[in-house]
């Protein structure tokens, strides 16, 4: 329901049915309360005087799997992945437990975007370990904000690579807070 700037009335004006329907009914229906459709969502501005409801999302793949690829790939169990409707900003977090079988080596977990935005996995949007000891293991997160992105439906899919030798990844999580 579109918002219309409320009429300024003066003494003696008659509030007509049309004025009520546009200025009161339609404007109330355009508010956050008028738009709210389900629990645990929040509102952002999607344009001037326009509210949109947003839904944060996350997904998890616990499976421990490996890759020796030094370019970003899927593991045997693809993901995790989430598909989210966003405006021009989104807050993204990726998490994994990582280790490498060779001293002096390491690995990275990143994400690729598809749908309204196409972005390949890259080292800037990644978590990374690189250790002088074989099989050192760490679990932690990287959080960033995409700004700007194209508004619409975008899928974030976790991707993985070894720096050298074989990386192992488990307890993998991706979460997106859309704006």
């Amino acid at each position: 329901m579109a918002w219309t700037s409320p009429t300024t009335v003066v003494g003696g004006d008659l509030v007509t049915a049309a004025l009520w329907n546009t200025g009161v009914r339609d404007n109330l229906n355009a508010t956050a309360v008028g738009t709210a459709s389900a629990a645990a969502r929040y509102f952002v501005a999607s344009a001037a005087r326009t509210m949109a409801e947003r839904v944060p999302s996350s997904n998890t793949v616990a499976t421990s799997q490996t890759t020796a690829s030094t370019t970003y790939v899927d593991l045997a169990t693809v993901g995790p992945a989430v598909t989210v409707t966003t405006g021009t900003k989104a807050w993204v977090t990726v998490t994994a437990f990582m280790s490498n079988n060779t001293a002096g080596s390491g690995c990275r977990t990143s994400w690729a975007m598809s749908g309204s935005n196409t972005v390949a996995a890259n080292d800037v949007n990644s978590i990374c370990i690189e250790s002088p000891n074989a099989n050192d293991g760490y679990r932690f997160s990287y959080t960033t904000m995409h700004d700007p992105i194209t508004a619409g439906s975008t899928t974030w899919t976790a991707k993985y690579r070894a720096i050298a030798n074989t990386g192992t990844f488990s307890d993998r999580v991706i979460a997106v807070i859309p704006f």
Binding site: V15, T16, A17, A18, W20, N21, V24, R25, D26, L28, N29, T31, A32, V33, G34, A36, S37, A38, A39, A40, R41, Y42, F43, E53, P56, S57, S58, T60, A62, T93, T95, F97, S99, A103, S131, P132, N133, A134, N135, D136, G137, Y138, R139, F140, S141, T143, D171, V173, A175, I177
Partner: protein, 180 residues
């Protein structure tokens, strides 16, 4: 204040006081300014046509303490811990500095959730570090969106364990929660 679908006016009908109170007063009171009670809160939905204020919480325990146990437990100073009223989602972060006295061993700090939803400390809800060099120290965070939750009051606490062997040390421990 409950929302009422606004009246569709018909030409030449009178707007009554009850109609004003229902469709103007009550509907305006259901809006953000009508619901907002405290600064630094934000508005989230609780269902169809319904808003509530939420705010973020943080708790910090700086104490540097140890455990040799391989199962999750409290440290001498339990926590940190935050009590939060949530809808069915919450963004949760845990941070700690971790080390272990034994090469090849490590430590893990996990979120332990109780209340309206119970989700015990586990690898999937944790940060961890395991190094081939004794006493290597790491300060790490883990952030994720907890969903679905049963709407209501929750306590987000922290539990700790050593991994492999040795004695794990934890300090500068932080939990932060943004409820939806």
């Amino acid at each position: 204040m409950a929302w009422n679908s606004p009246l569709t006016a018909v030409a030449n009908t009178t707007l009554t006081a009850p109609q004003w109170n229902l469709f103007i007063r009550d509907n305006l009171n259901a809006q953000g300014p009508g619901v907002a009670v405290t600064a630094a809160h934000w508005l989230v939905t609780t269902g169809l046509n319904s808003l509530i204020c939420r705010t973020a919480f943080i708790s910090i325990v700086s104490a540097s303490e140890t455990t040799p146990n391989l199962g999750f437990e409290d440290l001498d100073t339990p926590g940190p811990s935050v009590s939060v009223t949530c809808g069915d989602k919450a963004l949760v972060t845990i941070t700690a500095q971790i080390s272990n006295t034994t090469a090849g061993s490590g430590g893990r700090a996990a979120i332990d959730m109780s209340g309206a939803t119970v989700r015990e400390a586990a690898k999937l809800n944790s940060i961890s570090a395991r190094s081939g060099t004794a006493s290597d120290t790491f300060r790490l965070s883990w952030t994720s969106l907890y969903k679905p939750l049963n709407p209501g009051d929750h306590v987000f606490g922290a539990k700790y364990q050593a991994t492999v062997s040795g004695t794990a040390r934890f300090s500068d421990r932080v939990i932060a929660v943004l409820p939806f």
